[in-house]
């Protein structure tokens, strides 16, 4: 393993995967035991409602038959991206602020889009799409096919990285101002960062919770909509 550097996000991803897996296994054991004729209680109610909501959304975009195959994938990436985004609240660096992670997610989405095109247009249709509407546009169509990976991955990465850089800048600012105020009061040297607990909670709520939720929603909706673009309308209606 000499010369191989393991990025620190790898350990955070492993930790997060273990935590999500434990939570999901425990929840599925509890769901197996409940009475289907009664209302789900406690933590099970939001879980059941969330699964039903996401499954309904997938069905709206790709139709009933495809939703049975695509639904579990969409639910998995939405849970994974959301917890990756808000894990920075607990002092760990979020895995989605690492470009490798978002690039992998974007490539997965891209492969699924190509698979859908193969399924509904055939191999000939897939190649014919490159010279539509005119053969002159071949280079444009080639570029357009691959910029999707770039734009989807950089959208998630850019938002999360900008959030963490902003929070770092604000913490540095608070430390400097704390030192200055303590200096005015007669203390010398660095002091406890007492301004940060006053100023940062609201910004954490925006940059971590709200941005995390919105970016998850955008990524998942884009994945579903782009995959659904190639599904014929009569399959969606059923």
């Amino acid at each position: 393993m000499s010369g191989v550097t393991v990025q620190k996000e790898v350990w955070i991803i492993i930790l997060e995967t273990i935590l999500i897996a434990i939570a999901v296994i425990r929840l599925s054991h509890r769901i197996d035991r409940i009475d289907p004729l009664q209302r789900p209680k406690g933590i099970l109610l939001p879980v059941v409602l969330g699964v039903r909501k996401i499954y309904g959304d997938v069905k709206y975009y790709v139709g009933e038959g495809n939703a049975r195959k695509l639904g579990p994938y969409i639910l998995t990436i939405s849970v994974y991206i959301f917890f990756s985004n808000i894990i920075s609240l607990f002092g760990l660096s979020s895995p989605t602020a690492n470009y490798s992670v978002t690039l992998t997610l974007a490539i997965l989405t891209w492969i699924l889009i190509q698979v859908t095109e193969f399924k509904y247009n055939g191999v000939g249709g897939w190649f014919h799409a490159f010279i539509e509407p005119f053969p002159v546009l071949l280079p444009m169509n080639l570029i357009e096919k691959f910029t999707l990976i770039l734009s989807m991955s950089v959208r998630l990465f850019g938002n999360l990285t900008c959030g963490s850089i902003m929070m770092e800048l604000i913490y540095t600012f608070c430390q400097t101002m704390s030192n200055k105020i303590a200096g005015l009061l007669g203390a010398s040297g660095p002091v406890f960062n007492f301004l940060a607990p006053v100023l940062t909670p609201l910004l954490h709520a925006y940059f971590d919770c709200f941005a995390a939720f919105v970016q998850t929603l955008v990524f998942v909706t884009l994945t579903m909509a782009l995959i659904g673009n190639d599904v014929p309308e009569e399959i969606k209606k059923v």
Binding site: Y60, Y61, T147, L150, S151, V154, R155, G158, C162, L217, V218, T221, L222, A225
Partner: protein, 76 residues
């Protein structure tokens, strides 16, 4: 050497200004989507998905600006 770092920083700052008009455009998209939902509340799902697609396409421009800025800052 120092003036080169300064010029790179100015270039990165100019690259990031692509976000200026993008923000305006996304706000217009959201405002018109609100109008459309007010006029036609039962088509909310369709309007929302079209709005998110449009916003994502408009955002691509700002993302390329950000990418250029990041490349300028860290590659040179």
């Amino acid at each position: 050497m120092d003036i080169n770092r300064g010029l790179i920083a100015i270039g990165a700052g100019i690259a990031v200004t692509t976000g200026f008009m993008t923000g305006l455009g996304e706000a217009l998209t959201a405002a018109h989507a609100c109008d459309a939902i007010g006029k036609n509340p039962e088509a909310e799902g369709k309007i929302r998905s079209t709005m998110i697609l449009g916003i994502a396409l408009a955002e691509t421009c700002a993302i390329y600006g950000l990418l250029t800025a990041i490349l300028l800052m860290f590659v040179y």
